[in-house]
């Protein structure tokens, strides 16, 4: 068949227009803004690399090496990556494998997946209640007071040292279901004869899991991991709803910092610089996921 280049472009045109309008133009505009103060979202006045220099040298709420461990939105995001990604994947894998072995598998998976069906705003509000220091509304404090005698209610979201862990726990609750569904689908597609061969070969359940199941699931684990990493790097809504970055800016992560500087502190140029940093951090993972997807398809 003869290829018709005009027709090909005609078919691609609507998608190309949408991409240019809503993706490529805003990206370029953001990069442009990041080199300015961006007053009223106009690319002026030009400040060169000032925003970036400030970001990494003079903004203790973004990048602060003076504390140990370092603090600021950049390092809080790294804390999220270190805690959230392995736990959500590990938990997802565990539930997927265990659900696979019992009856009521569908019921279990439905319950675990349910949080994904709620809007993040609603989930944030639910968890704000859970963490409330008032034991009449705060489920977690009420529970701990019932279980541990003499336990004093803790303001989970009000303490600088606890707030990030509380937020990460809520995010894990939200995303575990997603990991379970993807990993359990991959688990189901593994050939059962290979598992049986390993059992006859002498593997106990533990060895079977670590030396056969996990290696065979590895491509899927990698894809889910990168997806989760990207989710952390662009996370915003949960923090916005639950803490608005507080207390004392302790729960700001990169995605939230961008919004915070742009809209709440009125510094679009500075916020754009954060957005560009975010883009640079996400790009390798996006690239990796796309490449992986291509390999899988071949």
């Amino acid at each position: 068949m003869k290829k018709n280049p005009v027709l090909g472009w005609a078919f691609a045109l609507p998608a190309v227009i949408l991409l240019i309008l809503f993706l490529i133009y805003p990206t370029l505009r953001t990069i442009q803004l990041s080199f300015t103060q961006g007053i009223a979202f106009r690319p002026e006045p030009y400040v060169g690399l000032d925003n970036y220099i400030t970001l990494f040298t003079r903004d203790p709420f973004f990048f602060n090496l003076r504390n140990f461990p370092p603090t600021g939105a950049f390092f809080t995001t790294i804390l999220w990556l270190i805690l959230f990604v392995p736990i959500v994947i590990g938990l997802g894998l565990m539930i997927a494998v265990m659900a696979n072995a019992v009856r009521y598998e569908v019921a279990i998976k439905t319950i675990v997946f349910l949080p994904m069906a709620i809007s993040f705003t609603a989930a944030g509000i639910i968890w704000r209640f859970v963490y409330s220091p008032d034991p009449n509304t705060g489920l977690l404090n009420a529970f701990l007071m019932a279980v541990i005698p003499g336990f004093q209610p803790v303001p989970w979201l009000g303490r600088v040292d606890l707030v990030n862990f509380a937020l990460i726990a809520a995010a894990i609750w939200l995303y575990t279901g997603f990991c379970v569904v993807i990993l359990s689908a991959a688990l189901k597609s593994l050939p059962s004869e290979v598992m049986e061969a390993a059992r006859v070969d002498g593997a106990n359940s533990w060895q079977l899991f670590w030396r056969v199941t996990v290696p065979m699931l590895w491509p899927t684990i990698v894809v889910v991991s990168t997806t989760m990493i990207i989710n952390v790097l662009k996370a915003f809504d949960l923090v916005y709803i639950m803490t608005n970055g507080g207390p004392r800016n302790a729960s700001r992560i990169i995605g939230f910092a961008m919004y915070h500087e742009t809209f709440q502190n009125g510094r679009p140029g500075y916020g754009s610089a954060i957005a560009v940093v975010m883009l640079i951090l996400v790009l390798p993972f996006v690239y990796f996921n796309i490449r992986r997807f291509r390999v899988e398809r071949q």
Binding site: E196, A197, G202, N204
Partner: protein
């Protein structure tokens, strides 16, 4: 090296019975083939022996140990699967070494056994490859190699050749037979292919609908099938069956079908005399129906005529599809046969090799009589 015993073994999945009161004694170093159509319970039986399925009732012994509650890894068996079930993330070497690694075998021993097995299987140049880089035949050898290095008491094989093409399958058949001779270990082999069963097994257990139909040597299964199922399952093309009545006239035993009458010679007839008057199933193999012009010498022929429907020239022989009174049957005749489609053809049935079964029970009427004198079965062929 070990014996294997199935003693009154049952397997039920809910209300369906997959294996029904199975009793088999496998001798040490034997090559036993479990054969039957799909869903007959042969794979389930093998999987119960491997420990991959629970035994609903009865006992399975390996050696003199009851293994009902022994985990697969502790049964000292190795299994080759239909899909080969190689570990896709491991190299050929790792695939073969895996079972030994799990058993904490010393590194040098593993290395030595893997390399030796690989050499004997002709895959020593593939040790660094991964399964997806191998052809079907190579994968099959790796799967066998993985079983060999374990040096198990019993080898289990579940349709290991059914994913190979026809030419490779013939090669692999003799390769596995040789392997059995070399290792001198008990082999239990599951297949749906009666040719594989006949060519490889020292004994064959024919199963159908969860029940053991007959267990015997290939020779005896062919010449003295215990019932209609075994008679029809073993041999290709299948045995021809006719509804018939057994009669006795003037001291002669006669098989009467709607299409033709076959008087049996005294030596054969005497075996069936006691059943005169019964409704029977008359069975005769295609290779025991000859063109009258090309009869082998020394047979006791009964001549009948039929219409020729299809002629298949095979070169070394000829398959004639014959029809008489609405009943079709097949004859494997001499390739020089002058049969023409649409014409009448006279054929000679070798009466010494006929089979008669009770029409109700479908059991062979002469099974015990023939079993008692196995050396004369089919002697005139």
């Amino acid at each position: 090296m070990a014996t294997v015993s199935f003693r009154h073994v049952w397997k039920r999945f809910g209300n369906t019975v997959a294996v029904k009161d199975l009793n088999i004694e496998v001798a040490d170093k034997e090559f036993l083939v479990l054969v039957g159509p799909s869903g007959c319970g042969k794979s389930t039986s093998l999987r119960m022996l491997a420990g991959l399925e629970e035994i609903t009732e009865g006992e399975i012994l390996i050696g003199d140990r009851v293994v009902n509650n022994v985990a697969p890894k502790d049964r000292d068996v190795a299994m080759v699967f239909q899909s080969y079930a190689l570990y896709p993330h491991m190299t050929v070497y790792e695939n073969m070494a895996f079972g030994l690694r799990l058993r904490k075998t010393p590194k040098q021993v593993i290395d030595q056994r893997v390399r030796e097995a690989a050499r004997s299987l002709g895959i020593d140049n593939l040790l660094d490859r991964r399964p997806r880089q191998l052809s079907g035949g190579q994968r099959q050898r790796v799967a066998v190699g993985r079983a060999i290095v374990r040096e198990p008491a019993v080898f289990l094989m579940d349709e290991p050749l059914s994913n190979l093409d026809a030419k490779l399958r013939v090669e692999a058949r003799s390769f596995i037979s040789k392997l059995h001779q070399r290792l001198g270990t008990t082999f239990i082999y599951v297949t749906h292919d009666q040719v594989e069963a006949m060519t490889m097994g020292t004994r064959i257990a024919v199963m159908s609908a969860g029940e053991l139909q007959q267990i015997d040597t290939p020779y005896n299964l062919y010449h003295n099938p215990r019932n209609v199922f075994v008679a029809g399952f073993i041999g290709s093309p299948s045995m021809n069956f006719f509804d018939a009545v057994l009669k006795e006239e003037d001291g002669k035993v006669i098989v009467e079908t709607p299409a033709f009458r076959i008087p049996l010679p005294p030596a054969v007839g005497n075996m069936y005399r006691g059943h005169a008057g019964k409704r029977v199933v008359f069975g005769v193999r295609p290779e025991d129906i000859h063109d009258v012009d090309y009869q082998p010498p020394g047979i006791l022929p009964a001549i009948i005529e039929a219409n020729v429907e299809v002629v298949e020239q095979m070169g070394n022989e000829m398959n004639l599809y014959l029809e008489e009174q609405g009943k079709t049957f097949i004859a494997r005749t001499d390739p020089r046969t002058q049969a023409r489609v649409g014409k009448r053809q006279a054929v000679a049935i070798n009466t010494s090799n006929i089979h008669l079964f009770d029409a109700n029970t479908e059991l062979s009427l002469a099974y015990e009589a023939k079993q008692a004198q196995p050396e004369t079965i089919g002697a005139s062929n």
